[in-house]
Assembly symmetry: C2
Homo-oligomer: 382 residues x 2
């Protein structure tokens, strides 16, 4: 058992979400992550609710297993330590506003000249180029400007935010991909690269269907509630005790669904093909619900699953965290505190890999500057 | 200029979205992607609307730059070709239902024995282990079961689907990360690995805040419309001509906002801290809108941006595709048809990297079996 990224050292200057999410994945795959934090307060999310035993569970969920050293990058002594860290690191990651690293004397050009093998990963709201590069952004701003809000929510109502912070998270994931690709290349060529990921760009990159539709038809799609915009039936339905999902993505599945529900619709020209079903989606929904309302969600999910039709419940987060499939996949892990006690729960690592450890616990999220001595000793051993 | 993944060959057995999205990113970073499709019809998305010149713009948006060969993996002659492709490939990627590859005699154990350096990447609805491994899934099913729908939408209304197919896309992105990490390891050790990513696991992995909240408080959060659940003000506001977003993520930004809006609220105990603002979010929204309704979105976005406050429009997809920042970042590319004409638009590559090409065009999406001759010749040259 060896984690695939064992032996790689990541110098992590990031805060809040996009950057820390990237370095969490690298850490989960075995990289050695050293979080370099500002001495006063450290990463902002140390102050984010909810708290447990006076510490942020939010910070713990994203920073477990990392080491922390507090460095004031405007102070000579701390800069000397940072320089030694740079000389030992494979990757430096930051999510400051563009220009901050340059003002500190640690911009890409300077770093690349001094440490040609070093990879430099940056994630920011709008990227390091373009007219709006220096504008501040949060997840909400890029969800709105990037278009995903315009297709999320109910028709004829105000757009809603995606409940997960996908503006940050998808950008952090693209940065992880870029860093790994650059490492692959560096291990062959010896030459580091800079990766520049923008949250706004990342949102656009996820809108495949909407982009194709808009560019071909010239018309931008709107939100469609709980329904897929171009597949029917592919939405939520009422059972006697609540809502569940049916996703009959092709004609064969629709035929099976009609048999399950005892509805003779699969030869009906109004419903025989997906384009026809999309034309008659409201009528079809009423016809299906006339049947599904007779029994519970659990009844229909069992019956449809037995027939091979994609279906399932709409779960709240507490239900997800108890879901037998989620637990069987080791997707809820215990984050330890520094005394080795199980202190928090967090999502596990979704990248399951042969011969890589997939532990049920994670090392503690570091106290601010909590690993200074250890990190300085590691530098000595260099 | 060299693309970081130049020289790596990906054998791509995937269809629809999660798998093809993964191999699209690998292709955009320079990998040689050979799409192996079933002879009858090929990838399902070849039949997905919208169409242009009789071809699916959706398929083109995700499969540009790949090569296609049609192989019947139950037929001896085609299996012999597939075996030769496996011997030349660095990675094989599939998103079949678990068990399909084993039945074809191409399961991980067999492949690993025959081609020890080969990486095997799989993405499926629920993963290759656990009680529900063999259940069928689509994006909608994992969005519902994975919990993201339960926190997306308006309070006291039915949950809505995230407009982007994040169930597929995030899983595809995790698979890309796993493949790249396994390649890094393989290039050192010579040993391939299997990566097994589940769409359900991937959704959970994005719910950082909701998971922390649920595990600490024991109470699952619900949807909060267009508002961030624990930061205020961080939501949409009405201007005279529509909605825009303000994301004042900390006290300093709130203070600046109060100055911009000429609202003396930053010393008011009801609004002085983020916890207090979260308690009084509805009142605060009314006070802010009393001012913002006086002018247009453009007015407020310009004014707040000048003051360094994160803000922005809620754009429809057509607006995003014309956004000067998006265009400056080369995030809308032309996909060529096989005659070299600009046929479709697609999202560009959000991973911007020094010394890597970032072309404004993409090679055509392949016709089914359209590169058979070329691929067979490449095998001869082996």
């Amino acid at each position: 058992m060896t984690a695939p990224l064992k032996g790689y050292t990541i110098l992590d200057l990031t805060h809040v979400l996009a950057g820390p999410f990237c370095t969490m994945t690298l850490s989960d795959m075995g990289a050695h992550v050293i979080k370099v934090e500002p001495p006063r307060g450290g990463d902002d999310t140390r102050a984010f609710p909810p708290f447990k035993d006076g510490k942020s569970a939010y910070f713990a969920a994203i920073n477990h297993g990392k080491k922390s050293i507090a460095l004031n990058l405007k102070e000579d002594g701390d800069r000397a330590i940072f320089d030694r860290l740079l000389a030992r690191a494979d990757v430096v990651v930051e999510n400051f506003r563009p220009g901050v690293m340059e003002r500190l004397g640690y911009g890409w050009e300077d770093l690349h000249a001094a440490y040609p093998r070093l990879i430099y990963g940056a994630v920011s709201g709008f990227g390091h180029s373009g007219p709006d590069a220096k504008r501040p952004a949060y997840d909400m701003v890029v969800q709105a400007r990037g278009g995903v809000m315009s297709i999320t929510g109910e028709k004829d109502r105000e757009p809603v935010r995606v409940g997960a912070s996908i503006g940050d998270i998808i950008a952090g994931m693209y940065l992880t991909q870029g860093i790994l690709a650059a490492l692959l290349d560096r291990d062959r060529t010896g030459k580091g690269r800079k990766i520049d990921v923008a949250m706004l760009d990342s949102i656009l990159a996820t809108l495949e269907h909407a982009v194709a539709l808009t560019t071909v038809t010239g018309k931008a799609p709107g939100p469609t509630g709980a329904r897929h915009p171009s597949i029917t039936p592919f939405e939520t339905f009422h059972a006697s005790d609540g809502l569940f999902v049916i996703a009959a993505g092709n004609d064969k599945l629709f035929e099976k669904l009609c048999i399950c529900l005892d509805l003779p619709l699969s030869d009906d020209p109004r419903f025989a093909t997906n384009p026809a079903r999309c034309e008659n989606t409201r009528l079809l929904k009423r016809l299906i619900e006339a049947v599904t309302l007779e029994h519970t969600c659990a009844h229909w999910i069992a019956k449809l699953t037995a027939a091979g039709i994609p279906t399932g419940p709409i779960q709240t987060i507490d239900q997800v965290l108890r879901d037998p499939q989620i637990l069987a996949r080791n997707m809820v892990v215990d984050v330890l505190d520094k005394n080795g006690r199980q202190a928090y729960k967090a999502a596990g690592n979704p990248i399951k890999m042969t011969d890589a450890p997939d532990p049920t616990t994670r090392g503690p999220a570091p106290d601010l500057d909590g690993n200074r001595g250890e990190i300085l000793r590691w530098l000595e051993q260099g």
